[in-house]
Protein backbone atom coordinates (compact mmCIF):
# COMPACT_ATOMS: atom_id res chain seq x y z
CA UNK A 1 0.00 0.00 0.00
CA UNK A 2 2.98 2.33 0.46
CA UNK A 3 2.85 3.27 -3.21
CA UNK A 4 -0.44 5.02 -2.48
CA UNK A 5 1.07 7.34 0.14
CA UNK A 6 2.20 10.11 -2.24
CA UNK A 7 -1.27 10.28 -3.81
CA UNK A 8 -2.80 10.41 -0.37
CA UNK A 9 -0.58 13.32 0.62
CA UNK A 10 -1.39 15.18 -2.60
CA UNK A 11 -5.12 14.62 -2.27
CA UNK A 12 -5.23 15.56 1.41
CA UNK A 13 -3.37 18.76 0.51
CA UNK A 14 -6.12 19.44 -2.02
CA UNK A 15 -8.83 18.70 0.55
CA UNK A 16 -7.08 21.00 3.02
CA UNK A 17 -7.24 23.81 0.47
CA UNK A 18 -10.95 23.23 -0.13
CA UNK A 19 -11.76 23.41 3.57
CA UNK A 20 -9.60 26.41 4.40
CA UNK A 21 -10.40 28.55 1.37
CA UNK A 22 -6.70 28.73 0.50
CA UNK A 23 -6.28 29.90 -3.14
CA UNK A 24 -6.15 26.92 -5.52
CA UNK A 25 -2.89 28.07 -7.12
CA UNK A 26 -1.02 27.90 -3.81
CA UNK A 27 -2.86 24.82 -2.54
CA UNK A 28 -1.82 22.81 -5.59
CA UNK A 29 1.77 24.02 -5.52
CA UNK A 30 2.35 23.59 -1.80
CA UNK A 31 0.82 20.10 -1.62
CA UNK A 32 3.11 19.04 -4.46
CA UNK A 33 6.10 20.53 -2.63
CA UNK A 34 5.32 18.60 0.56
CA UNK A 35 4.77 15.36 -1.35
CA UNK A 36 7.98 15.70 -3.35
CA UNK A 37 10.00 16.70 -0.27
CA UNK A 38 8.89 13.54 1.56
CA UNK A 39 8.84 11.03 -1.27
CA UNK A 40 11.49 12.19 -3.72
CA UNK A 41 13.78 14.30 -1.60
CA UNK A 42 14.81 17.96 -1.38
CA UNK A 43 17.04 17.67 -4.47
CA UNK A 44 13.86 17.49 -6.57
CA UNK A 45 12.60 20.91 -5.48
CA UNK A 46 13.95 23.07 -8.35
CA UNK A 47 11.03 21.66 -10.36
CA UNK A 48 8.94 24.45 -8.83
CA UNK A 49 10.70 27.11 -10.91
CA UNK A 50 11.14 25.02 -14.05
CA UNK A 51 7.48 24.03 -14.13
CA UNK A 52 6.34 27.62 -13.70
CA UNK A 53 8.66 28.70 -16.49
CA UNK A 54 7.49 25.82 -18.68
CA UNK A 55 3.91 27.09 -18.42
CA UNK A 56 5.05 30.64 -19.19
CA UNK A 57 6.67 29.58 -22.45
CA UNK A 58 3.62 27.83 -23.87
CA UNK A 59 2.95 29.05 -27.41
CA UNK A 60 -0.62 27.78 -27.42
CA UNK A 61 -1.68 29.75 -24.35
CA UNK A 62 -0.85 33.15 -25.89
CA UNK A 63 -4.29 33.02 -27.51
CA UNK A 64 -5.89 33.08 -24.05
CA UNK A 65 -5.08 36.64 -22.86
CA UNK A 66 -5.83 37.93 -26.37
CA UNK A 67 -9.32 36.44 -26.34
CA UNK A 68 -9.84 37.73 -22.80
CA UNK A 69 -8.71 41.19 -23.89
CA UNK A 70 -11.06 41.06 -26.89
CA UNK A 71 -13.95 40.17 -24.60
CA UNK A 72 -13.09 42.95 -22.15
CA UNK A 73 -13.01 45.54 -24.94
CA UNK A 74 -16.34 44.32 -26.33
CA UNK A 75 -17.91 44.32 -22.89
CA UNK A 76 -16.60 47.75 -21.90
CA UNK A 77 -17.75 49.23 -25.20
CA UNK A 78 -21.33 48.34 -24.35
CA UNK A 79 -21.91 45.39 -26.69
CA UNK A 80 -23.48 43.40 -23.85
CA UNK A 81 -26.17 46.01 -23.23
CA UNK A 82 -26.86 46.40 -26.96
CA UNK A 83 -27.25 42.65 -27.23
CA UNK A 84 -29.62 42.57 -24.31
CA UNK A 85 -31.79 45.43 -25.61
CA UNK A 86 -31.98 43.73 -29.00
CA UNK A 87 -32.92 40.27 -27.68
CA UNK A 88 -35.44 41.81 -25.31
CA UNK A 89 -37.33 43.44 -28.16
CA UNK A 90 -36.85 40.66 -30.69
CA UNK A 91 -38.00 37.74 -28.53
CA UNK A 92 -39.99 39.56 -25.84
CA UNK A 93 -43.34 39.37 -27.73
CA UNK A 94 -43.15 35.55 -27.64
CA UNK A 95 -44.30 33.53 -24.66
CA UNK A 96 -41.14 32.68 -22.74
CA UNK A 97 -39.22 34.96 -25.09
CA UNK A 98 -37.20 36.67 -22.39
CA UNK A 99 -36.00 33.33 -21.10
CA UNK A 100 -35.07 32.20 -24.59
CA UNK A 101 -33.28 35.47 -25.16
CA UNK A 102 -31.38 34.98 -21.91
CA UNK A 103 -30.13 31.58 -23.05
CA UNK A 104 -28.93 33.09 -26.31
CA UNK A 105 -27.34 36.13 -24.67
CA UNK A 106 -25.57 34.11 -22.01
CA UNK A 107 -24.35 31.69 -24.67
CA UNK A 108 -23.07 34.51 -26.88
CA UNK A 109 -21.42 36.37 -23.98
CA UNK A 110 -19.90 33.13 -22.78
CA UNK A 111 -18.60 32.41 -26.28
CA UNK A 112 -17.10 35.87 -26.60
CA UNK A 113 -15.50 36.00 -23.21
CA UNK A 114 -14.64 32.37 -22.70
CA UNK A 115 -14.30 33.06 -18.98
CA UNK A 116 -15.74 30.90 -16.27
CA UNK A 117 -19.45 30.37 -15.75
CA UNK A 118 -19.40 32.48 -12.62
CA UNK A 119 -18.41 35.51 -14.66
CA UNK A 120 -21.36 35.00 -16.97
CA UNK A 121 -23.77 34.63 -14.07
CA UNK A 122 -22.89 38.17 -13.01
CA UNK A 123 -23.89 39.48 -16.43
CA UNK A 124 -26.93 37.24 -16.74
CA UNK A 125 -28.13 38.41 -13.37
CA UNK A 126 -29.12 41.72 -14.97
CA UNK A 127 -31.80 39.71 -16.74
CA UNK A 128 -33.27 38.04 -13.67
CA UNK A 129 -34.97 41.07 -12.01
CA UNK A 130 -36.35 42.09 -15.42
CA UNK A 131 -37.86 38.64 -15.97
CA UNK A 132 -39.31 38.48 -12.46
CA UNK A 133 -40.84 41.94 -12.94
CA UNK A 134 -42.45 40.77 -16.20
CA UNK A 135 -44.24 38.10 -14.17
CA UNK A 136 -41.97 35.20 -15.08
CA UNK A 137 -41.95 32.27 -12.67
CA UNK A 138 -38.69 31.65 -10.85
CA UNK A 139 -38.61 28.14 -12.24
CA UNK A 140 -38.28 29.42 -15.81
CA UNK A 141 -36.22 32.52 -15.09
CA UNK A 142 -33.16 31.14 -13.27
CA UNK A 143 -32.29 28.04 -15.27
CA UNK A 144 -31.59 29.79 -18.59
CA UNK A 145 -28.99 32.10 -17.02
CA UNK A 146 -27.03 29.21 -15.53
CA UNK A 147 -27.39 26.84 -18.46
CA UNK A 148 -26.59 29.54 -21.02
CA UNK A 149 -23.55 30.69 -19.08
CA UNK A 150 -22.19 27.17 -18.77
CA UNK A 151 -22.12 26.94 -22.57
CA UNK A 152 -19.02 29.13 -22.43
CA UNK A 153 -16.96 26.03 -21.70
CA UNK A 154 -17.99 24.53 -25.00
CA UNK A 155 -18.59 27.29 -27.52
CA UNK A 156 -15.47 28.77 -29.14
CA UNK A 157 -13.37 30.69 -28.30
CA UNK A 158 -13.56 28.76 -25.04
CA UNK A 159 -10.58 29.33 -22.74
CA UNK A 160 -11.16 25.88 -21.26
CA UNK A 161 -10.77 24.26 -24.68
CA UNK A 162 -7.52 26.17 -25.23
CA UNK A 163 -6.18 24.85 -21.92
CA UNK A 164 -7.35 21.35 -22.82
CA UNK A 165 -5.63 21.64 -26.20
CA UNK A 166 -2.40 22.63 -24.49
CA UNK A 167 -2.45 19.59 -22.18
CA UNK A 168 -3.65 17.09 -24.77
CA UNK A 169 -1.45 18.54 -27.55
CA UNK A 170 -4.27 18.60 -30.06
CA UNK A 171 -5.21 21.32 -32.51
CA UNK A 172 -7.16 24.17 -30.96
CA UNK A 173 -8.90 24.70 -34.30
CA UNK A 174 -10.24 21.13 -34.30
CA UNK A 175 -11.40 21.51 -30.70
CA UNK A 176 -13.20 24.77 -31.50
CA UNK A 177 -14.87 23.17 -34.52
CA UNK A 178 -15.81 20.13 -32.42
CA UNK A 179 -17.49 22.24 -29.75
CA UNK A 180 -19.81 24.05 -32.15
CA UNK A 181 -22.40 21.37 -32.96
CA UNK A 182 -22.88 20.15 -29.37
CA UNK A 183 -23.09 23.81 -28.28
CA UNK A 184 -25.76 24.58 -30.88
CA UNK A 185 -27.60 21.36 -30.05
CA UNK A 186 -27.73 22.33 -26.38
CA UNK A 187 -28.88 25.87 -27.20
CA UNK A 188 -31.58 24.54 -29.49
CA UNK A 189 -32.84 22.07 -26.86
CA UNK A 190 -32.88 24.74 -24.13
CA UNK A 191 -34.84 27.15 -26.30
CA UNK A 192 -37.27 24.41 -27.37
CA UNK A 193 -37.85 23.38 -23.77
CA UNK A 194 -38.61 26.96 -22.73
CA UNK A 195 -40.80 27.49 -25.79
CA UNK A 196 -42.87 24.34 -25.27
CA UNK A 197 -43.23 24.81 -21.54
CA UNK A 198 -44.27 28.46 -21.75
CA UNK A 199 -46.67 27.72 -24.61
CA UNK A 200 -48.62 25.39 -22.32
CA UNK A 201 -48.11 27.40 -19.13
CA UNK A 202 -48.36 31.03 -20.29
CA UNK A 203 -48.85 32.26 -16.72
CA UNK A 204 -45.24 31.50 -15.79
CA UNK A 205 -43.78 33.12 -18.89
CA UNK A 206 -46.06 35.86 -20.27
CA UNK A 207 -45.26 37.65 -23.51
CA UNK A 208 -44.11 41.25 -23.39
CA UNK A 209 -47.24 43.47 -23.22
CA UNK A 210 -47.87 45.28 -26.56
CA UNK A 211 -47.36 48.77 -25.07
CA UNK A 212 -43.75 47.87 -24.25
CA UNK A 213 -42.91 46.62 -27.72
CA UNK A 214 -41.21 48.86 -30.23
CA UNK A 215 -41.88 48.98 -33.99
CA UNK A 216 -39.79 47.01 -36.46
CA UNK A 217 -37.80 50.05 -37.50
CA UNK A 218 -36.45 50.56 -33.99
CA UNK A 219 -35.64 46.88 -33.66
CA UNK A 220 -33.46 47.15 -36.72
CA UNK A 221 -31.85 50.27 -35.27
CA UNK A 222 -30.93 48.25 -32.19
CA UNK A 223 -28.88 45.85 -34.30
CA UNK A 224 -26.49 48.55 -35.48
CA UNK A 225 -24.18 48.11 -32.47
CA UNK A 226 -24.08 44.36 -32.99
CA UNK A 227 -23.11 44.00 -36.63
CA UNK A 228 -19.39 44.66 -36.17
CA UNK A 229 -18.88 42.42 -33.11
CA UNK A 230 -20.66 39.57 -34.90
CA UNK A 231 -18.44 40.12 -37.94
CA UNK A 232 -15.34 40.08 -35.73
CA UNK A 233 -16.24 36.80 -34.05
CA UNK A 234 -17.08 35.19 -37.40
CA UNK A 235 -13.82 36.43 -38.90
CA UNK A 236 -11.82 35.06 -35.97
CA UNK A 237 -13.41 31.61 -36.14
CA UNK A 238 -13.52 31.63 -39.93
CA UNK A 239 -9.82 32.31 -40.28
CA UNK A 240 -8.97 29.52 -37.82
CA UNK A 241 -11.23 27.05 -39.63
CA UNK A 242 -9.97 28.09 -43.05
CA UNK A 243 -6.46 27.41 -41.81
CA UNK A 244 -5.13 30.84 -42.82
CA UNK A 245 -4.27 31.93 -39.27
CA UNK A 246 -3.24 30.15 -36.10
CA UNK A 247 -5.62 30.53 -33.14
CA UNK A 248 -3.12 32.94 -31.57
CA UNK A 249 -3.00 35.15 -34.64
CA UNK A 250 -6.76 34.99 -35.02
CA UNK A 251 -7.11 36.07 -31.38
CA UNK A 252 -4.84 39.04 -32.05
CA UNK A 253 -6.96 39.99 -35.07
CA UNK A 254 -10.08 39.65 -32.89
CA UNK A 255 -8.62 41.93 -30.24
CA UNK A 256 -7.62 44.50 -32.86
CA UNK A 257 -11.06 44.21 -34.46
CA UNK A 258 -12.77 44.80 -31.12
CA UNK A 259 -10.75 48.00 -30.65
CA UNK A 260 -11.58 49.08 -34.20
CA UNK A 261 -15.27 48.41 -33.69
CA UNK A 262 -15.26 50.49 -30.48
CA UNK A 263 -13.53 53.27 -32.40
CA UNK A 264 -16.09 53.20 -35.23
CA UNK A 265 -18.93 53.48 -32.72
CA UNK A 266 -17.10 56.40 -31.11
CA UNK A 267 -16.84 54.58 -27.82
CA UNK A 268 -13.09 54.18 -27.83
CA UNK A 269 -11.37 56.28 -25.21
CA UNK A 270 -8.40 56.10 -22.91
CA UNK A 271 -10.50 54.95 -19.95
CA UNK A 272 -11.92 52.00 -21.92
CA UNK A 273 -8.51 50.80 -23.07
CA UNK A 274 -7.11 51.15 -19.55
CA UNK A 275 -10.02 49.27 -17.93
CA UNK A 276 -9.87 46.48 -20.52
CA UNK A 277 -6.08 46.16 -20.05
CA UNK A 278 -6.32 45.91 -16.26
CA UNK A 279 -9.18 43.46 -16.34
CA UNK A 280 -7.58 41.20 -18.94
CA UNK A 281 -4.31 41.23 -16.97
CA UNK A 282 -6.09 40.24 -13.74
CA UNK A 283 -8.14 37.44 -15.35
CA UNK A 284 -5.16 36.06 -17.25
CA UNK A 285 -2.95 36.28 -14.14
CA UNK A 286 -5.56 34.48 -12.07
CA UNK A 287 -5.83 31.64 -14.60
CA UNK A 288 -2.09 31.40 -15.20
CA UNK A 289 -1.27 31.12 -11.50
CA UNK A 290 -3.67 28.20 -11.22
CA UNK A 291 -1.87 26.64 -14.17
CA UNK A 292 1.48 27.21 -12.43
CA UNK A 293 0.27 25.47 -9.28
CA UNK A 294 -1.45 22.71 -11.22
CA UNK A 295 1.60 21.97 -13.37
CA UNK A 296 3.64 21.47 -10.16
CA UNK A 297 0.88 19.26 -8.80
CA UNK A 298 0.56 17.02 -11.85
CA UNK A 299 4.30 16.69 -12.37
CA UNK A 300 4.74 15.32 -8.84
CA UNK A 301 1.63 13.20 -9.27
CA UNK A 302 3.29 11.62 -12.30
CA UNK A 303 6.76 11.29 -10.78
CA UNK A 304 5.44 9.50 -7.71
CA UNK A 305 3.60 7.03 -9.93
CA UNK A 306 0.07 8.30 -9.30
CA UNK A 307 -0.90 8.15 -12.95
CA UNK A 308 0.01 4.46 -13.30
CA UNK A 309 -1.79 3.50 -10.10
CA UNK A 310 -4.99 5.27 -11.08
CA UNK A 311 -5.04 3.89 -14.61
CA UNK A 312 -4.29 0.38 -13.33
CA UNK A 313 -7.24 0.65 -10.98
CA UNK A 314 -9.57 2.03 -13.64
CA UNK A 315 -8.56 -0.55 -16.25
CA UNK A 316 -8.64 -3.29 -13.59
CA UNK A 317 -12.17 -2.44 -12.48
CA UNK A 318 -13.59 -1.70 -15.91
CA UNK A 319 -13.72 -4.66 -18.26
CA UNK A 320 -15.46 -2.72 -21.03
CA UNK A 321 -14.71 0.80 -22.34
CA UNK A 322 -18.20 1.90 -21.32
CA UNK A 323 -17.34 1.31 -17.66
CA UNK A 324 -14.21 3.43 -18.05
CA UNK A 325 -16.43 6.26 -19.24
CA UNK A 326 -18.86 5.74 -16.39
CA UNK A 327 -15.99 5.96 -13.88
CA UNK A 328 -14.63 9.09 -15.54
CA UNK A 329 -18.01 10.81 -15.76
CA UNK A 330 -18.88 10.04 -12.14
CA UNK A 331 -15.45 11.28 -10.99
CA UNK A 332 -16.04 14.51 -12.88
CA UNK A 333 -19.47 14.99 -11.30
CA UNK A 334 -18.01 14.54 -7.82
CA UNK A 335 -15.08 16.87 -8.52
CA UNK A 336 -17.49 19.41 -9.99
CA UNK A 337 -18.91 19.87 -6.52
CA UNK A 338 -15.56 21.10 -5.21
CA UNK A 339 -13.24 22.42 -7.88
CA UNK A 340 -13.27 25.30 -10.31
CA UNK A 341 -13.18 24.25 -13.94
CA UNK A 342 -9.57 25.22 -14.64
CA UNK A 343 -8.19 23.21 -11.73
CA UNK A 344 -10.42 20.34 -12.71
CA UNK A 345 -9.17 20.32 -16.30
CA UNK A 346 -5.55 20.62 -15.21
CA UNK A 347 -5.58 17.71 -12.77
CA UNK A 348 -7.99 15.26 -14.40
CA UNK A 349 -7.16 15.49 -18.11
CA UNK A 350 -3.53 14.33 -17.69
CA UNK A 351 -4.81 11.28 -15.78
CA UNK A 352 -7.74 10.32 -17.99
CA UNK A 353 -6.47 11.21 -21.43
CA UNK A 354 -3.78 8.47 -21.72
CA UNK A 355 -6.40 5.86 -20.81
CA UNK A 356 -8.80 7.19 -23.43
CA UNK A 357 -6.12 7.32 -26.11
CA UNK A 358 -5.00 3.81 -25.25
CA UNK A 359 -8.55 2.59 -25.73
CA UNK A 360 -8.39 4.07 -29.23
CA UNK A 361 -10.62 7.13 -28.84
CA UNK A 362 -10.07 10.53 -30.39
CA UNK A 363 -8.64 13.18 -27.99
CA UNK A 364 -10.64 15.95 -29.71
CA UNK A 365 -13.84 14.03 -29.15
CA UNK A 366 -12.89 13.40 -25.52
CA UNK A 367 -12.15 17.11 -25.02
CA UNK A 368 -15.62 18.11 -26.13
CA UNK A 369 -17.24 15.29 -24.14
CA UNK A 370 -15.23 16.44 -21.14
CA UNK A 371 -16.39 20.07 -21.42
CA UNK A 372 -20.01 19.06 -21.94
CA UNK A 373 -19.79 16.94 -18.83
CA UNK A 374 -18.00 19.61 -16.79
CA UNK A 375 -20.58 22.29 -17.61
CA UNK A 376 -23.25 19.89 -16.39
CA UNK A 377 -21.37 19.18 -13.15
CA UNK A 378 -21.45 22.83 -12.18
CA UNK A 379 -25.22 22.86 -12.39
CA UNK A 380 -25.98 19.50 -10.82
CA UNK A 381 -27.90 19.76 -7.54
CA UNK A 382 -27.29 19.57 -4.66
CA UNK A 383 -23.69 20.82 -4.67
CA UNK A 384 -23.01 22.18 -8.18
CA UNK A 385 -20.55 24.99 -7.97
CA UNK A 386 -22.42 27.73 -9.83
CA UNK A 387 -25.68 27.08 -7.98
CA UNK A 388 -24.19 28.50 -4.81
CA UNK A 389 -22.74 31.37 -6.71
CA UNK A 390 -26.18 32.10 -8.14
CA UNK A 391 -27.69 32.09 -4.68
CA UNK A 392 -25.11 34.67 -3.67
CA UNK A 393 -26.01 37.16 -6.40
CA UNK A 394 -29.76 36.51 -6.84
CA UNK A 395 -32.43 38.66 -5.12
CA UNK A 396 -33.21 37.45 -1.56
CA UNK A 397 -36.65 36.02 -2.44
CA UNK A 398 -34.96 33.34 -4.57
CA UNK A 399 -34.34 30.28 -2.37
CA UNK A 400 -31.89 27.45 -2.94
CA UNK A 401 -34.93 25.23 -3.65
CA UNK A 402 -36.07 27.58 -6.43
CA UNK A 403 -32.63 27.32 -8.00
CA UNK A 404 -32.63 23.50 -7.79
CA UNK A 405 -36.14 23.20 -9.28
CA UNK A 406 -35.31 25.60 -12.05
CA UNK A 407 -32.09 23.89 -13.12
CA UNK A 408 -33.16 20.24 -13.14
CA UNK A 409 -34.72 20.21 -16.64
CA UNK A 410 -31.58 21.82 -18.03
CA UNK A 411 -29.35 19.26 -16.32
CA UNK A 412 -31.50 16.51 -17.87
CA UNK A 413 -31.00 18.03 -21.31
CA UNK A 414 -27.25 18.23 -20.70
CA UNK A 415 -27.16 14.61 -19.59
CA UNK A 416 -28.97 13.60 -22.76
CA UNK A 417 -26.42 15.48 -24.86
CA UNK A 418 -23.50 13.89 -22.95
CA UNK A 419 -25.01 10.48 -23.74
CA UNK A 420 -25.53 11.45 -27.35
CA UNK A 421 -21.88 12.49 -27.68
CA UNK A 422 -20.78 9.30 -25.99
CA UNK A 423 -22.75 7.03 -28.33
CA UNK A 424 -22.59 9.13 -31.50
CA UNK A 425 -19.05 10.60 -31.66
CA UNK A 426 -19.93 12.02 -35.07
CA UNK A 427 -21.81 14.88 -33.37
CA UNK A 428 -18.40 16.18 -32.34
CA UNK A 429 -16.14 14.89 -35.08
CA UNK A 430 -18.21 15.65 -38.15
CA UNK A 431 -17.46 19.38 -38.31
CA UNK A 432 -13.69 19.16 -37.62
CA UNK A 433 -13.42 16.46 -40.28
CA UNK A 434 -15.30 18.56 -42.82
CA UNK A 435 -13.35 21.73 -42.00
CA UNK A 436 -9.86 20.33 -41.60
CA UNK A 437 -10.20 17.16 -43.65
CA UNK A 438 -9.82 13.65 -42.33
CA UNK A 439 -6.65 12.95 -40.42
Amino acid sequence: MTEWLPILVLLSGLAFGLITGFPMAFTLASSSIIASWIFIGPQSLPYVATNVFGMMSSMVLIAMPLFIFMACVLEKSGVTQDLYAFMHQLLGPLRGGLSMGTVLICAIIAAMSGVSTTGVVTMGIIALPIMLKQGYGKSIAIGPILAGGALGLLIPPSISLIIYGMIARVSIGRLFAGGILPGLLLTFLYVSYIGIRSYFQPHIAPALPPDKRVPMKEKIALTSGLILPVLIISAVLGSIFAGIASPTEAAAVGAGGALASAAIHRRLNWQLVKDACYRAMAINGMIMWILFGASCFTSIFFRTGGQDLISDVIIGVASEPIYVFIIILVTLIVLGFFLDEITQIMITVPVFLPIIVELGYDPVWFGVLFMTQVQMDYLTPPFGFTLFYMKGVAPPEVSMGDIYRSIIPFVCIQLAVVMAILFFPQIVLWLPDVVFGLR
Binding site: L18, G21, P46, A49, P65, L66, C277
Partner: protein, 168 residues
Protein backbone atom coordinates in the same frame (compact mmCIF):
# COMPACT_ATOMS: atom_id res chain seq x y z
CA UNK B 1 4.44 50.07 9.66
CA UNK B 2 1.30 51.34 8.01
CA UNK B 3 3.37 53.25 5.49
CA UNK B 4 5.44 50.18 4.64
CA UNK B 5 2.29 48.15 4.02
CA UNK B 6 0.77 50.92 1.92
CA UNK B 7 4.03 51.09 0.00
CA UNK B 8 3.88 47.36 -0.77
CA UNK B 9 0.26 47.71 -1.93
CA UNK B 10 1.32 50.57 -4.16
CA UNK B 11 4.12 48.54 -5.75
CA UNK B 12 1.80 45.56 -6.39
CA UNK B 13 -0.89 47.80 -7.85
CA UNK B 14 1.51 49.47 -10.26
CA UNK B 15 3.50 46.37 -11.17
CA UNK B 16 0.23 44.86 -12.37
CA UNK B 17 -0.93 47.98 -14.17
CA UNK B 18 2.46 48.33 -15.82
CA UNK B 19 2.58 44.79 -17.21
CA UNK B 20 -1.06 45.00 -18.33
CA UNK B 21 0.19 47.13 -21.26
CA UNK B 22 2.08 44.11 -22.62
CA UNK B 23 -1.15 42.66 -24.05
CA UNK B 24 -1.32 45.62 -26.46
CA UNK B 25 2.25 44.91 -27.55
CA UNK B 26 1.53 41.21 -28.02
CA UNK B 27 -1.50 42.10 -30.11
CA UNK B 28 0.44 44.62 -32.20
CA UNK B 29 3.34 42.24 -32.84
CA UNK B 30 1.02 39.47 -34.00
CA UNK B 31 -1.05 41.84 -36.14
CA UNK B 32 2.16 43.01 -37.78
CA UNK B 33 3.13 39.39 -38.43
CA UNK B 34 -0.25 38.65 -40.01
CA UNK B 35 -0.04 41.80 -42.15
CA UNK B 36 3.50 41.05 -43.30
CA UNK B 37 2.61 37.50 -44.20
CA UNK B 38 -0.53 38.30 -46.14
CA UNK B 39 0.30 41.61 -47.74
CA UNK B 40 3.99 41.12 -48.43
CA UNK B 41 4.38 37.35 -48.13
CA UNK B 42 7.26 38.09 -45.76
CA UNK B 43 6.67 36.41 -42.39
CA UNK B 44 9.12 37.31 -39.65
CA UNK B 45 11.16 34.84 -37.63
CA UNK B 46 10.79 36.82 -34.43
CA UNK B 47 7.12 37.77 -33.97
CA UNK B 48 5.85 34.59 -32.31
CA UNK B 49 8.94 34.17 -30.20
CA UNK B 50 8.86 37.75 -28.96
CA UNK B 51 5.18 37.48 -28.09
CA UNK B 52 5.99 34.31 -26.14
CA UNK B 53 8.55 36.22 -24.06
CA UNK B 54 6.01 38.98 -23.43
CA UNK B 55 3.30 36.48 -22.56
CA UNK B 56 5.51 34.81 -19.95
CA UNK B 57 6.34 38.08 -18.22
CA UNK B 58 2.72 39.26 -18.53
CA UNK B 59 1.39 36.14 -16.81
CA UNK B 60 3.82 35.70 -13.97
CA UNK B 61 4.18 39.36 -13.04
CA UNK B 62 0.41 39.75 -12.61
CA UNK B 63 0.56 37.54 -9.50
CA UNK B 64 1.10 40.32 -6.96
CA UNK B 65 -1.71 42.48 -8.39
CA UNK B 66 -4.11 39.53 -8.32
CA UNK B 67 -3.13 38.79 -4.71
CA UNK B 68 -3.59 42.44 -3.71
CA UNK B 69 -7.09 42.43 -5.14
CA UNK B 70 -7.83 39.04 -3.60
CA UNK B 71 -8.74 37.59 -7.00
CA UNK B 72 -6.90 34.27 -6.79
CA UNK B 73 -9.53 31.57 -7.25
CA UNK B 74 -10.43 29.88 -4.00
CA UNK B 75 -13.10 27.42 -3.03
CA UNK B 76 -14.69 29.26 -0.15
CA UNK B 77 -18.01 27.52 0.55
CA UNK B 78 -16.83 26.42 3.99
CA UNK B 79 -14.41 29.27 4.56
CA UNK B 80 -17.14 31.90 4.24
CA UNK B 81 -19.12 30.34 7.09
CA UNK B 82 -16.48 31.49 9.57
CA UNK B 83 -16.43 34.95 11.16
CA UNK B 84 -13.97 37.51 9.89
CA UNK B 85 -11.69 36.71 12.78
CA UNK B 86 -12.07 32.96 12.28
CA UNK B 87 -11.01 33.42 8.67
CA UNK B 88 -8.01 35.44 9.78
CA UNK B 89 -6.95 32.61 12.10
CA UNK B 90 -7.25 30.07 9.26
CA UNK B 91 -5.33 32.39 6.92
CA UNK B 92 -2.50 32.75 9.44
CA UNK B 93 -1.82 29.05 9.05
CA UNK B 94 -2.40 28.73 5.33
CA UNK B 95 -0.09 31.66 4.64
CA UNK B 96 2.79 29.55 5.93
CA UNK B 97 2.22 27.22 2.96
CA UNK B 98 2.10 30.23 0.69
CA UNK B 99 5.53 31.29 1.98
CA UNK B 100 6.84 27.77 1.44
CA UNK B 101 5.83 27.82 -2.24
CA UNK B 102 6.82 31.39 -3.02
CA UNK B 103 10.07 31.09 -1.05
CA UNK B 104 11.11 28.08 -3.12
CA UNK B 105 9.96 29.77 -6.30
CA UNK B 106 12.17 32.76 -5.44
CA UNK B 107 15.18 30.62 -4.58
CA UNK B 108 15.02 28.33 -7.61
CA UNK B 109 13.83 31.16 -9.83
CA UNK B 110 17.11 32.94 -9.11
CA UNK B 111 18.88 29.67 -9.84
CA UNK B 112 17.31 29.09 -13.27
CA UNK B 113 17.71 32.76 -14.22
CA UNK B 114 21.36 32.75 -13.19
CA UNK B 115 22.01 29.55 -15.12
CA UNK B 116 20.36 31.03 -18.22
CA UNK B 117 22.73 34.00 -18.03
CA UNK B 118 25.76 31.87 -17.33
CA UNK B 119 25.14 29.36 -20.12
CA UNK B 120 23.79 32.02 -22.53
CA UNK B 121 20.71 29.89 -23.06
CA UNK B 122 18.63 30.69 -26.13
CA UNK B 123 15.16 29.64 -27.26
CA UNK B 124 15.50 26.38 -29.15
CA UNK B 125 14.62 25.01 -31.57
CA UNK B 126 14.08 28.38 -33.20
CA UNK B 127 15.38 30.26 -36.24
CA UNK B 128 15.71 33.45 -34.22
CA UNK B 129 17.28 31.92 -31.10
CA UNK B 130 16.68 34.88 -28.82
CA UNK B 131 18.25 34.83 -25.33
CA UNK B 132 16.03 33.32 -22.70
CA UNK B 133 17.37 34.99 -19.55
CA UNK B 134 15.18 38.12 -19.58
CA UNK B 135 12.03 36.00 -19.36
CA UNK B 136 13.54 33.61 -16.83
CA UNK B 137 14.52 36.61 -14.74
CA UNK B 138 10.86 37.61 -14.44
CA UNK B 139 10.23 34.45 -12.36
CA UNK B 140 12.29 35.56 -9.32
CA UNK B 141 11.13 39.17 -9.77
CA UNK B 142 7.49 38.05 -9.74
CA UNK B 143 8.21 35.80 -6.75
CA UNK B 144 9.73 38.75 -4.90
CA UNK B 145 6.74 40.98 -5.67
CA UNK B 146 4.15 38.41 -4.66
CA UNK B 147 6.22 37.54 -1.56
CA UNK B 148 6.17 41.19 -0.48
CA UNK B 149 2.41 41.41 -1.02
CA UNK B 150 1.93 38.11 0.81
CA UNK B 151 3.97 39.41 3.72
CA UNK B 152 1.87 42.58 3.89
CA UNK B 153 -1.34 40.53 3.84
CA UNK B 154 0.10 38.19 6.44
CA UNK B 155 0.90 41.04 8.86
CA UNK B 156 -2.65 42.36 8.48
CA UNK B 157 -4.08 38.88 8.96
CA UNK B 158 -2.08 38.13 12.10
CA UNK B 159 -3.08 41.47 13.58
CA UNK B 160 -6.73 40.69 12.86
CA UNK B 161 -6.42 37.17 14.25
CA UNK B 162 -4.74 38.32 17.47
CA UNK B 163 -6.63 41.49 18.27
CA UNK B 164 -9.86 40.99 16.32
CA UNK B 165 -9.42 44.47 14.85
CA UNK B 166 -8.45 45.36 11.32
CA UNK B 167 -5.22 47.19 10.73
CA UNK B 168 -6.32 50.49 9.28
Amino acid sequence: MKRVLAGIDFVSEWSGKLVSVLIVFIMAILLLEVALRFAFNAPTIWAHELSMHFFGAYSVLAGAYVLLHNQHVKIDLIYLRFSTRGRAIIDTFTYLLFFLFIGLLLRYGIMIAWRAVELRQAVSPSPWGSPIWPTKLTVPIAALLILAQGLANFIRTVKLAVTGKELT
